[in-house]
C-alpha cells in the first residue's frame, strides 16, 4: 500500500535477490509438475479408466479437488474485502497474500474440471452449444466472473508497489514494471482514484465470491440424488469455503514468515485474529455438518444396499417401491473433504 514507509528492505529482498533454496524448490516443484503432466497424458491416451472411478462413483478426487480449491480461493478476496470494508487495520500485511492465493488457486480448481472431462478436446462445446439449464454453465459464468474480478482486485492495490519496484530494478524488469505500474506517480489525484476503484471492487467482489460457491454447491444440489438434493448446500459450501480459505492463509503466512524472515510484518496478532476467525468458521461448519447428519440419521436415510449385482436399486418389503442410495459414496466423499 502507498501508506507504507519506503524503507522496508526485507520486503524487497525476495524480489531483488534469489538464493539457492529458491532454485531447489523450483526444481522439485517442476519435477512434480512434469510427472503430473505425464500422468495426465497417460489418462488422455488410455481413457478415464486409469482412474479408480466407476459407475455410481462417476466423480471422484478431481471434482473433490475442484470444490476444495474453489473453496480455498475464498481465502483471499472475500476475507481481504470484508476486512477492508470493516477497516480492520491489522489486515494490511496479509491481504496481498490472501489475494494471490485466490487467483492462483482458482486456476487449480478450473484445471481439475478439465482433467476430469472425458473429452477435454470438446471443451468449447460448452460455449458453442451451451445450455443454461445446466448448473455447470452457471458455474462457468460465475467462476470466470470471479476470476476476472479477483484478478482486478489483486492488481489494483498492487500498482503503487509495482511503481516502487520500477524505481529499483533495471533491464527487462524495468520495462515490465513500468508498463504494469500504469505511470503511477503517487500524486493526490491518482491516490484518490485508486482508493475509489479499490473500494468499488471490494464491494463488488463479495457477492461474486458468495455466488461462486453457492453455484458450485448447486451442481450437486440440483440433482435428485440422496444426500445431494439438499437445501442447505448453498450456505454449507460457502461456510466450508471460507473455513478452508482461512486455513490456507494461515498456512501460507506461517511458511512465508519463516522463509522470508518477515517476523516484523506477520506478527502474533495476525495469527491470533485469523485463529479466532477460523474458530468461528469451524463452529459454523460443525453446526451445518451436525444438522445434515442428524436429520439424515434420524430419518433412517443411511446407506442401504449399494449393490445388487450391478445396480444400486433396493427393493423395499411391503410396498412395491424402489429407492436408490446411489450416490451416498460421493456425498460422503464430498462432505469429508469439505
Amino acid at each position: 500500500m502507498q501508506t507504507r514507509p519506503i524503507n522496508d528492505e526485507a520486503l524487497f529482498k525476495p524480489i531483488l535477490f534469489t538464493g539457492k533454496k529458491f532454485y531447489l524448490t523450483v526444481a522439485i516443484l517442476s519435477a512434480i509438475v512434469i510427472w503430473a503432466a505425464f500422468i495426465w497424458i497417460w489418462q488422455l491416451w488410455h481413457g478415464l479408466g486409469v482412474t479408480g472411478l466407476n459407475r455410481s462413483v462417476f466423480w471422484g478426487v478431481y471434482i473433490t479437488n475442484f470444490v476444495f480449491f474453489i473453496g480455498v480461493s475464498h481465502a483471499g478476496t472475500l476475507i481481504s474485502a470484508i476486512l477492508r470494508l470493516s477497516r480492520a487495520e491489522w489486515r494490511r500485511s496479509i491481504t496481498r497474500m490472501a489475494e494471490v492465493i485466490t487467483v492462483l488457486v482458482l486456476f487449480f480448481g478450473v484445471a481439475n474440471v478439465i482433467i476430469d472431462m472425458g473429452r477435454p478436446d470438446r471443451l468449447l462445446n460448452v460455449i458453442k452449444h451451451g445450455h443454461f439449464s445446466s448448473p455447470l454453465l452457471w458455474d462457468v459464468c460465475s467462476i470466470s466472473t470471479y476470476l476476472t474480478a479477483s484478478t482486478i482486485y489483486l492488481f489494483l492495490p498492487l500498482i503503487p508497489d509495482i511503481a516502487l519496484l520500477r524505481d529499483r530494478v533495471s533491464g527487462w524488469r524495468k520495462k515490465l514494471y513500468t508498463f504494469l505500474s500504469l505511470n503511477w506517480q503517487g500524486t493526490e489525484e491518482q491516490v484518490k482514484r485508486l482508493q475509489k476503484a479499490i473500494g468499488i471492487m471490494a464491494v463488488a467482489v463479495i457477492p461474486i465470491a458468495v455466488s461462486v460457491h453457492t453455484v458450485v454447491s448447486y451442481v450437486f444440489a440440483m440433482t435428485v440424488q440422496p444426500m445431494w438434493h439438499s437445501a442447505i448446500f448453498g450456505p454449507y459450501f460457502v461456510v466450508g469455503a471460507i473455513f478452508s480459505g482461512i486455513a490456507a492463509i494461515i498456512t501460507g503466512m506461517a511458511i512465508i514468515r519463516k522463509v522470508y524472515h518477515l517476523e516484523d510484518y506477520l506478527k502474533p496478532i495476525h495469527f491470533n485474529n485469523l485463529g479466532i476467525l477460523l474458530l468461528v468458521m469451524t463452529l459454523l461448519w460443525f453446526y451445518f455438518t451436525f444438522g445434515e447428519y442428524l436429520t439424515t440419521w434420524y430419518g433412517h436415510y443411511g446407506p442401504g444396499l449399494l449393490g445388487m449385482g450391478m445396480s444400486p436399486v433396493r427393493f423395499q418389503s411391503g410396498s412395491q417401491k424402489y429407492s436408490a442410495d446411489t450416490l451416498l459414496y460421493s456425498g460422503a466423499c464430498l462432505s469429508s473433504v469439505l
Binding site: 478415464l48 472425458g118 477435454p120 470438446r122 445388487m308 445396480s311 436399486v313 417401491k321 424402489y322
Partner: protein, 226 residues
Amino acid sequence: MPRWGMVIDLDRCTGCQACVIACKQENNVPFVSPAEAEKRRTIAWINVIQFREENSTSRMKFLPILCQHCDRPPCTPVCPTGATYKNKEGLVAQVYPRCIGCRYCANACPYTIKFFNWYAPHWPEQMQPMLNPDVSVRPKGVVEKCTFCHHRLMKAKEKAETEKRELSPEDYTPACAQTCPTGAIIFGDLDDPYSEVARLSKDARAFTLMEDLGTKPKVIYLRAGA
C-alpha cells in the same frame, strides 16, 4: 406424434437375459473384461437385476432395468451442451459427438442406467465383423445409454415413407422386446388408446420405478404375483 413406451411384465420375466444379449448385439455395446466388471464398469443398456424381498425366503425375482425414458428426465436439464435431451417423440436421446464427458447426466440419473466409456470400446476379433452398421460405435470418454433402439425407428420411418404409408406401431420394436421369449417386454405408443402398452399401463399391477421422484418414466412395470 406417438409417445413410445414400454411395459415389462415381471410375472413373465424368467431372468433368462436374452434381452441383455440382444441389446448388446444390436447396439454395439462394447465388451468389458472381468477385471473391469469387478470395478463396476460394465456397460449394459438393459440389465436384469436379481433380488429377494427383504426378510423373505421367497424365490428370486427379476427386474430388467434400462433407461426409463422419463417424461421429466433428471438427466437432460443438467447437460451443459445439450448432448442428452428429450426429443419430440419423448425418447431421451444421446448425441455422442457433442458429449464432453463430464458425467453430470450419469450422476443425475437416479436409475444409474447411464454408462461412461472409461476406455476405448473393445471387442474380441471374432466379434468385430458382427458390429451393427446402423449404430455408431461410441468413442472413449462419452456417456451412452439405451435409446429404445432409435435407429430402428429411423429405419421404420424410411420404410414407411418409401411404401407411401403411415408408420404403424408394428414397424418399430426395440431388440429387447423383440427377443424376449416369454413376451414380458411389450413396446408401443402410450398415447394410442388402443395399443397394448396403453392398456397395460393402466393395469392394476402397473407401477413405475421411484415414482416419488416425479420423473414420470415411460417404462412401466407390472407387479409380479405372489
